[in-house]
């Protein structure tokens, strides 16, 4: 099962590598990882997407919790939550393909943030599945470059 693990940790140099090092040392997988400071500049929030059965996820949560720099660990997928991921994709366009691309952009509500003569740079935020669907809907040889942020999210209850 896919889990989104949200980690609040001290915003100190090296804290990121403690978490990522733990994942590689213990053979836990990481599908995506995002990290940035929060409104409290001494705290960072890291969001990790990992796939594993319940035992493994339980171990991940416990092991991460054990790290001295970690303040709080939540398995977002275990609660009501919202999640988003941002995609930025560079798409080549030509007279022949422009209409198709425009239609897909419309359909997915993706936004062109830079338009050159022969290429668009497009952004799309949403659940990972939506981003996968959008990329699949584009013609593979039109995609020049893909950059995804990985998932971030918060728990819905206050």
């Amino acid at each position: 099962m896919r889990h989104i693990i949200s980690i609040q940790l001290e915003n100190e140099s090296g804290a990121l590598s403690r978490v990522s090092g733990l994942f590689s040392a213990r053979g836990f997988n990481i599908e995506s990882l995002t990290v940035a400071a929060t409104n409290d500049p001494t705290l960072s929030r890291m969001t990790i997407v990992s796939v594993g059965d319940d035992d493994i996820i339980e171990q991940i949560v416990k092991q991460v919790n054990k790290l001295v720099d970690v303040v709080k660990v939540t398995d977002l997928t275990a609660t009501e939550h919202v999640e988003r991921e941002l995609l930025i994709v560079k798409i080549s366009i030509s007279n022949n393909t422009q209409d198709d691309v425009d239609a897909q952009l419309d359909h997915f509500n993706a936004k062109v943030i830079d338009a050159a003569e022969d290429a668009y740079i497009v952004e799309l935020a949403g659940k990972s599945q939506k981003i996968n669907d959008f990329l699949a809907a584009l013609n593979a040889d039109q995609i020049i470059e893909v950059s995804r942020t990985g998932v971030t999210g918060v728990c819905q209850k206050i």
Partner: protein, 577 residues
């Protein structure tokens, strides 16, 4: 008061109550050494290799229960220390290691003797710090000791840049308390979990207490003994737990696991209720997980939530200080009538009759088991015994029952050859009144031999009991069983003359080749109160450690001495390794 960083560090250590530091100097820590020179309350032990420093600090910590401290220079000093740090980490030993680092200004430039200490040690410390500003020093030292000694203990590294030790700042004294929002080792026991545990215990017909290193580290010996006595349950202890409950007591069924007793392993296998106390279900304990304790409900008591469910699924876990949890169990069981477990004891006593530690003596050769039994006799079972890693370690654990905790000092989790000698030195410094014996092998002793020199300098008389079988015996044993006797690189050709070697280091060396000389030699060695004595005891080169659960087998599939030697080379053995 204006002090430089090095002076501040030394003041912090003094305030922490540190009495011994094991270390080795170098460029990055010269200021610290200069400050130490002016300090009269801390003894610095100059080892001969940084690995020895950390093992000695470790032996000191295991023996005394206090935090071990070691000090090394940057680069090779730190890398030499890593094996020691990992050894302490695996066995959850409280320790603070201070390493020098190149000046902040040149970090990242591949400067002379620069290594990424924090990066290299990350996976084998409980936590680590890089200090680049003298103003952060005192608080960091406070945090380091706090983290190392609370919760599940472990080594903490403080890497200090040279400029930090030189900078002069206004020093406001060592902080008295520390609070960390991200680290809260205190925990409340969950009473519901305790009640669930009691409900299982109350119904059990075949209970057993399985106690590990946590009972020693958590100083839970007294409460563990009370629980065991109150319930009348059998108790088995892991290699790391030996001594928390008296090994000579009739309720003790001995050590369990790969080289545990028949009765301990069979009782685990047949039990319907296992009370795991500060034990982590290591693979040397469980054998094949699919065959592990098929009938038992498992209660797991541990301070570390991540130990629970890591290897084996359990029925109830109680998280907390071992002492507190055991006390809660004792209270909860008070006034309850437990099922009659006489039939269970009868069964266990049947298994005991197998006498799984029996061994055959042979005219003209010294059996290693005999040596340990003689050591036990000569020391009245009262010595601190440190050990290296190999067959001799297992024999020491099997034939020297410990009645007190912190008397058996060995590298259980990492299995670090070379641990025994420096650990013995640390143990002697922690407990100068007690006899310290280092049980070692001809292979292991050569890994930290140089510490003989330190032991002379600091006058730490220990007795080195070297079981010289001319082999990396444990490797030879596995090759005999599982590699069709292809003894690849397990023969230690060209051994030195250990007697002359001991003498050249200023100690006494005695070679023992005949069994009749064994006891007198031991007695003579222990008579030499103020001297380190190296007993080079020539033992049977072909002896194997039994009983044995070959890897892949279950607790009920042990190989026994004399009975299964042939069976042990069968096909199943081969694919078990």
């Amino acid at each position: 008061m204006k002090l430089n960083g090095a002076q501040i560090l030394v003041d912090c250590l003094k305030s922490e109550g540190v009495k011994h530091i094991f270390g080795y100097p170098g460029g990055a820590v010269l200021h610290i050494y200069d400050a130490l020179d002016a300090c009269t309350t801390i003894d610095h032990i100059l080892v001969r290799h940084e690995q020895g420093a950390v093992h000695a600090a470790d032996g000191y910590a295991r023996t005394s229960g206090k935090c071990g401290v070691s000090l090394v220079t940057s680069g090779p000093g730190l890398t030499n220390a890593v094996t020691g740090i990992a050894t302490a980490f695996t066995d959850s030993i409280p320790m603070v290691v201070i390493s020098g680092q190149v000046p902040s200004a040149v970090i990242g430039s591949d400067a002379f003797q620069e290594v990424d200490a924090v990066g290299i040690t990350r996976s084998c410390v409980k936590h680590n710090f890089l200090v680049k500003n003298a103003n952060d020093l005192a608080e960091t030292v406070k945090k380091a000791f706090y983290i190392a000694t609370t919760g599940r203990p472990g080594p903490v590294l403080i890497d200090i840049t040279k400029d930090t030790t030189i900078a002069e700042i206004e020093y406001e004294g060592y902080p008295e308390t520390i609070k960390m929002r991200s680290y809260q080792p205190e925990m409340q026991i969950n009473n519901e979990q305790v009640a669930k545990a009691i409900a299982i215990i109350e119904k059990s017909q075949k209970p057993i207490i399985y106690s590990g290193g946590g009972s020693v580290i958590g100083n839970a010996s007294e409460v563990l003994t009370a629980l065991t006595r109150n319930t009348g349950f059998p108790i088995t202890q892991t290699l790391m737990g030996l001594g928390a409950y008296p090994g000579t007591d009739k309720q003790s069924v001995g050590m369990l696991g790969m080289h545990g007793t028949y009765e301990a392993n069979m009782a685990m296998h047949d039990s319907d209720c296992i009370i795991a106390v500060g034990a982590r279900f290591d693979d040397r304990i469980t054998g094949n997980l699919e065959k592990f304790c098929p009938y038992a409900k498992i209660i797991h008591i541990d301070i570390d939530p991540s130990s629970v469910g890591k290897v084996v699924g359990v029925d109830v876990s109680v998280i907390g200080q071992v002492n507190d949890v055991l006390y809660a169990l004792i209270q909860g069981l008070e006034g309850k009538t437990l099922p009659n477990i006489d039939p269970w004891w009868q069964q266990i006593n049947e298994w005991r009759k197998v006498d799984s530690l029996a061994y055959k003596t042979v005219e003209g050769v010294i059996k290693p088991q005999t040596v340990i039994e003689a050591l036990y006799e000569v020391t009245n079972g009262q010595a601190i015994v440190t050990s290296d890693v190999g067959q001799h370690q297992m024999w020491a654990a099997q034939y020297y029952p410990f009645d007190k905790p912190r008397r058996w000092i060995n590298s259980g989790g990492l299995g670090t050859m070379g641990f025994g000698l420096p650990a013995a030195m640390g143990a002697k410094l922690a407990e100068p009144e007690l006899e310290v014996a280092c049980v070692t092998g001809d292979g292991s002793i050569q890994m930290m031999l140089q510490e003989l020199s330190t032991m002379l300098q600091y006058h730490t008389p220990v007795k080195i009991i070297s079981l010289n079988n001319g082999y990396l015996g444990m490797v030879r044993q596995w090759q005999e069983f599982f590699y069709e006797k292809r003894y690849s690189m397990s023969y230690m050709d060209a051994l030195p003359d250990f007697v002359k070697l001991a003498e050249s280091y200023g100690h006494i060396g005695i070679r023992v080749e005949k069994e009749e000389d064994l006891k007198p030699a031991l007695i003579e060695a222990f008579k030499q109160k103020d001297r380190t004595v190296f007993l080079d005891i020539i033992t049977d080169p072909n002896e194997n450690v039994f009983p044995m659960i070959p890897s892949g087998a279950g607790h009920h599939e042990m190989l026994l001495a004399g009975r299964d030697e042939m069976a042990s080379t069968n096909d199943s053995g081969l694919n078990l390794v």
